[in-house]
């Protein structure tokens, strides 16, 4: 297989790793909505933590994307 073709295949495979991050990010907001529906008064307490959870989970998706970009352009 030529190097160019292998690069594209590698990039495509690396991007599969984002599935987990997609599920994780969905989980963050689904638990927020569930917690908010059980106790609407806690909105301000957990409000700040959603964004931390989102950013930390999104980072995993971006690690996978960086591997894909490295195999494409590295």
């Amino acid at each position: 297989m030529e190097l160019e073709a292998a690069k594209f295949v590698g990039a495509g495979l690396a991007a599969i790793g984002m599935i987990g991050a997609g599920i994780g990010v969905g989980n963050v907001w689904s638990s927020y909505i569930t917690a908010l529906s059980r106790n609407p008064a806690s909105k301000d307490d957990i409000g700040a933590n959603i964004w931390i959870g989102f950013a930390v989970t999104e980072a995993i998706a971006l690690f996978a994307l960086i591997v894909a970009l490295i195999s494409l352009f590295g």
Partner: protein
């Protein structure tokens, strides 16, 4: 036509060579200087009036102070307040760096792994030194919490050690990847505008939406960088 990765090239503006070292003043350094000038001007001019009932500009400066002060008080505790200047400078530098990059034609200095790794390395080494200075050899309790049964040490200690050593890596790669990927997406979609001719309106609408997303990501990533620094400081000062 340039590819999507040419925007991250470092171009020297004032070439300076010291022996074998290349210490040029580059576009990256220029934007770091611009960020510091923007932050200083904003804080100095908005607080010049020192009104008891703040004007809008003074409100903004006071709010940025409050966000970090509350973050430190909630995440590090009362003895963490001495680290406020460090966390505040870190937060404002990363925030203004991220936001300056969204100006068309500007350079995002936080999109380079060396810059973010420099910041993360300082935070990692700093918190480790602070922890060792405060607790001495008790600092190693961070990796083997008291109360855990001895036989779990074989799995627990390596796992805790690896997760501790991965902190600077994850901190730096998170910021660098978010900034790089955001700008690459913007350039790739912008490339479609010329290709589609009259239907180029659709990529432009996409660009507006993604630029809005990038603003949100710039602010959130700066906030997450600062709050994770506070969490690591808490770990170093209070050992879980």
């Amino acid at each position: 036509m340039a590819g999507p990765l040419e925007q991250f090239e470092i171009k020297p503006i004032v070439p300076i060579r010291v022996g074998d070292l290349d210490l040029s003043f580059t576009n990256s350094s220029l934007f770091m200087v611009i960020a510091v000038v923007v932050i200083t001007t904003f804080l100095v001019t908005s607080m010049r009036g020192r009104a008891l009932v703040p004007t809008r500009l003074q409100s903004m400066a006071e709010m940025s102070y409050e966000v970090i002060a509350n973050m430190i008080r909630d995440n590090v505790g009362m003895d963490g307040r001495r680290y406020f200047p460090f966390v505040f400078s870190l937060f404002m530098f990363v925030l203004v760096g991220n936001l300056l990059g969204l100006i068309p034609g500007a350079f995002t200095f936080t999109s380079h792994i060396i810059v973010t790794f420099g910041l993360a390395a300082v935070i990692f080494i700093g918190t480790t030194v602070i922890g060792i200075a405060r607790h001495g050899t008790h600092f190693l309790q961070l990796f083997f919490p008291p109360g855990a049964p001895l036989w779990t040490a074989i799995i627990l200690v390596p796992v805790e050690l690896v997760s501790y050593l991965s902190r600077p890596v994850s901190l730096s790669v998170r910021l660098f990847a978010n900034m790089t990927v955001g700008h690459v997406i913007l350039k790739v979609i912008a490339g479609f505008v010329a290709l589609l001719g009259v239907f180029g309106v659709l990529p432009i609408l996409g660009l507006v939406a993604i630029t809005g997303l990038e603003f949100m990501i710039a602010i959130i990533q700066a906030y997450v960088f600062a709050i994770l620094t506070c969490v690591y400081l808490h770990d170093a000062l209070h050992l879980h």
